[in-house]
Amino acid sequence: MTEEKDYQKILASVQKPVEGEAGKTGSWSTIKPKINLDKCIVAKMEKNVCHFCWLYCPEPIITRTIPPRILYDYCKGCGICVEVCPHKAIEMVEESEL
């Protein structure tokens, strides 16, 4: 087997979002998402059954845990998690209400 050349190894730029790639984006907004654990299906069933918010958060700073948690240091307040939550368990609130 001949040795692989660099052009055989540098191929597709497959990228995975990582926490805090754009720095501490938490300062970008004044309103923040808050998960209502009484409504969140993952929290209620104590099972990995949804996690849409984890999948869609572009930062990505919602944990794939039971229950899901938001790392506010990096949350830019875009509200995507609110839109995708099938159980309407997330709403945007003033930072002071967190």
Binding site: K9, Q15, P17, V18
Partner: protein, 423 residues
């Protein structure tokens, strides 16, 4: 079995479709456009009749078609599409994405002029326009060559030394809709020739995580999760892979010739009556086919002329062409395309390749047959004879010359002529 039973009579588009069936493509996404449509119609027939186990993704445009192919290919499956002209133009952005991600998609172009004005007839403008997107590009002269080149294209594109998407072009109507005998190979022999795809990518597998940052930066990024090349390294890699793919193109062509008994020159170009030639015509596709007749006619008059019909356009085989042209006195290039504002695209490319030669040939380019204007042998002969005259006088013509123009038939151009509708 007698000889006639081994061949089927079919149009070029169907030859392309049969090759896809032979290659067992897994995902096809395309949008209908003249003169390509019968390719995908035939493939959908194969799928519906159960002869081909593939998914046909119906989409609303060519851009979406290629996006679907990119997505499918990124999950590690063999992917194919076909288009023409405006369809290809609409795909332009995604062509760059496919190449940049080194996805071994195979695409056919049934070549067609690009509007305006609206035309459905052939020329090579569409194929040459996507020259710099990072796709391998090959041209064909007959239907058997379409079938054979497509089979080779999958193997070349998917080779781990290559991983570059590949375009196989053939002239709209002249091949796409013309019936010719094509020998179809048995499935078992094709399976032997094209190994299953071993893709470098499988986005279907969520556990395989390669990159680390969402944007590829100008610099190399090092993080806990790993190291990511910068944009520059990715693009360097694509160019290197293209450069080295010439060896693979030849290797796969030779293997094909050995296995199936059909060859196309050396896989890079097809030489016709070159042995003692001191004048050479350089062309691709339909123009090259027509030139064969020109060679025969001019040889009958005692002119030592030959033809180089270019098969591999990208990567451009500069080294091989220098070898061919190093002892040639005169070269005539016929372009069925224009690099607007300069000259024929093949003409530019060849001159650039030959620049390194100590004794460069006298070289003259002509434009022919845009938008399906018939390319007649006699027209090409005039081009050759004019070139010989110019060479004698060592005269260089600055303006682009168009062969087969019919300005004299436009009455309104004549003195006092009225401008008519359709000016």
């Amino acid at each position: 079995m007698n000889a006639s039973e081994e061949y089927e009579i079919m149009i070029g588009n169907h030859a392309a479709a049969y090759a896809c069936k032979g290659a067992k493509v897994q995902v096809v996404a395309a949008y209908p456009i003249t003169p390509q449509s019968p390719v995908v119609e035939k493939i959908s027939y194969f799928i519906e009749s159960g002869e081909l186990n593939a998914r046909m993704v119906r989409v609303e445009s060519e851009q979406s078609a290629l996006v679907a192919c990119v997505a499918a290919s990124a999950t590690g499956v063999r992917t194919y599409t076909a288009t023409s002209s405006h369809g290809l133009m609409l795909m332009y952005e995604i062509l760059c994405w496919a190449a940049g991600n080194r996805l071994p998609i195979v695409m056919n172009i049934a070549t067609r002029a690009v509007g305006a004005p609206w035309s459905v007839w052939t020329d090579h403008q569409d194929a040459f326009t996507v020259r710099d997107t990072g796709w391998l590009q090959m041209f064909c002269e007959d239907n058997q060559e379409i079938y054979d080149t497509n089979l080779q294209a999958f193997r070349i594109a998917e080779d781990p030394c290559v991983y570059v998407p590949t375009l196989v072009s053939y002239d709209g109507y002249i091949l796409s809709h013309t019936f010719m005998p094509v020998r179809l190979e048995p499935q078992s022999r094709i399976d032997d020739f094209i190994p299953p795809l071993k893709h470098h990518l499988n986005l279907g597998d969520m556990n395989v995580v390669k990159g680390v940052c969402p944007v590829t930066t100008p610099h190399v990024v090092k993080r806990e999760e790993g190291t990511a090349p910068g944009y520059y390294e990715f693009r360097y890699s694509l160019q290197r892979a293209m450069e080295h793919s010439i060896e693979k193109v030849v290797e796969v062509h030779d293997l094909f010739a050995e296995k199936f008994g059909r060859s196309y020159g050396n896989g890079i170009y097809k030489a016709y009556k070159m042995e003692d030639a001191d004048i050479v015509i350089f062309a691709v596709g339909s123009v090259a086919s027509e030139s064969r007749l020109v060679i025969d006619k001019l040889r009958a008059k005692g002119i030592k002329i030959g033809l180089i019909s270019l098969k591999l356009f990208r990567p451009f085989p500069a080294k091989h062409l220098r070898e061919v042209f190093k002892d040639i006195k005169t070269v005539v290039v016929f372009d069925r395309d224009v690099g607007y504002g300069y000259e024929g695209i093949l003409f530019t490319e060849l001159k650039s390749a030959l620049y390194q030669l100590k004794n460069r040939p006298f070289i003259k380019g002509y434009i022919v047959g845009l938008g399906g204007r018939d390319v007649k042998a006699d027209d090409l002969i005039n081009g050759v004879l004019r070139t010989i005259e110019l060479e004698k006088k060592n005269e260089y013509v600055e303006q682009t010359e168009f062969i087969g123009l019919k300005l004299d038939e436009l009455d309104f151009l004549k003195k006092g002529g009225k401008v008519e509708n359709g000016r």
